[in-house]
């Protein structure tokens, strides 16, 4: 027997990355801004997205959402109340979305034509670890963190926060009762992803939403 060493130097997730690159090209040529929302379960991604979709609709922007969960279409039904087209992705046990799932769910989605959309939101499965490895072809990855979760989340999950383009702090209406240390949270996010744009929001009071929507419009314009 002889031993042979073969250099491969290939990404483990090359297949996903290639699919994601194809999606990104599709999204860019259709002129739709795609965002991938990632957080732990219970951060309030759905409430935040619900309000975002409503506000965009008021501004006559066209937005749609794909929403990932292990099971149930509860979130899709909640989000659909905003009037935006929404499609549920059930992963049946898989802890993250991947580019293949997104591709599959874009097919045959009759209410939606990418070319007519301004924004497409992809709400990932509630998980702060696994989604960080999977590119979905998004332009902006958003890491969300609620004031009830502890200011050190970014330090505990650096992989996600470092790979994100924007960070959203949710439930700031609960900041005082939770004893949330705002400066510490902002500092921790910045230590892991220097210079990242941070939004402090409440889906209940609407705080911070104007800044968030202005950011969306700004990124969309520069696309």
């Amino acid at each position: 027997m002889t031993t042979r060493i073969v250099e491969l130097r290939r990404g483990i997730l090359k297949k996903n990355d290639e699919l994601a690159a194809g999606l990104r090209l599709r999204f860019t040529s259709a002129g739709v801004l795609v965002l991938n929302l990632v957080s732990s379960p219970g951060t309030g991604k759905t409430a935040f997205l619900e309000l975002t979709l409503r506000r965009l609709r008021e501004r006559l922007a066209k937005a749609a959402a794909l929403v990932g969960d292990l099971e149930t279409d509860n979130d899709a039904r909640r989000l659909a109340a905003s009037g935006a087209p929404v499609r549920q992705i059930n992963t049946h046990g898989i802890c993250h979305l991947d580019a293949e799932m997104v591709t599959r769910h874009l097919e045959g989605w009759e209410e939606v034509s990418l070319a007519d959309l301004d924004y497409l939101f992809i709400e990932n499965v509630g998980n702060l670890v696994c989604p960080s490895s999977y590119d979905l072809g998004e332009r902006i990855r958003v890491a969300l963190l609620s004031v009830t979760e502890g200011e050190d989340k970014p330090l505990k999950y650096p992989g996600l926060f470092n790979s994100s383009d924007a960070a959203v702090i949710t439930k700031i209406d609960l900041a005082a009762p939770c004893g949330f240390n705002r400066e510490l949270a902002l500092r921790n996010i910045n230590e892991i992803c220097p210079g990242i744009r941070i939004f402090e929001t409440s889906a209940k009071t609407g705080a911070g939403m104007d800044e968030w929507l202005a950011y969306l419009a700004e990124v969309a314009r520069s696309s």
């Binding site: 002889t2 130097r9 290939r10 670890v129």
Partner: protein, 133 residues
């Protein structure tokens, strides 16, 4: 816990690459994994055994090289390796880094194969000119 998905992707990728060497058996798979890749080394080893079981890769060793984060500091104009992943500050001047130049890797570096000995054709056994001299 997405290490099982990652392990399954490694099995798929290596099987594809090893197909170019019929009759060979993969004995080792070397990975390069950055400290910011959100991979737990032990979990990946455990999942590798599960994912490779029942495939031609069963029994192959997974060798994981963990790579520290290297930050690029604009102020110092240089790259620095940092300890851990709790801050992306330049260890020399303390400024927050402009970006990272290593730390997100998730790649297969190489594979090691055992191939059956094949009788070399005669002409390949001829010694090079310089050795004959």
């Amino acid at each position: 816990m997405h290490e099982l998905s990652i392990a399954a992707s490694i099995v798929e990728a290596v099987t594809e690459s090893a197909a170019a060497y019929p009759g060979a058996r993969v004995t080792k798979v070397r990975l390069r994994v950055g400290a910011l890749a959100s991979i737990v080394e032990d979990a990946l080893q455990f999942c590798w055994d599960l994912a490779s079981e029942g495939t031609p890769l069963a029994g192959a060793a997974l060798v994981i090289k963990m790579l520290p984060v290297i930050v690029h500091c604009d102020a110092c104009g240089a790259d620095f390796e940092i300890e851990g992943v709790q801050t992306l500050r330049c260890p020399r001047c303390g400024q927050l880094a402009a970006g990272i130049s290593q730390g997100r890797e998730l790649e297969i570096e190489s594979i090691e194969l055992e191939e059956p000995e094949i009788a070399e054709p005669k002409m390949h056994q001829a010694k090079p000119v310089e050795e004959q001299a």
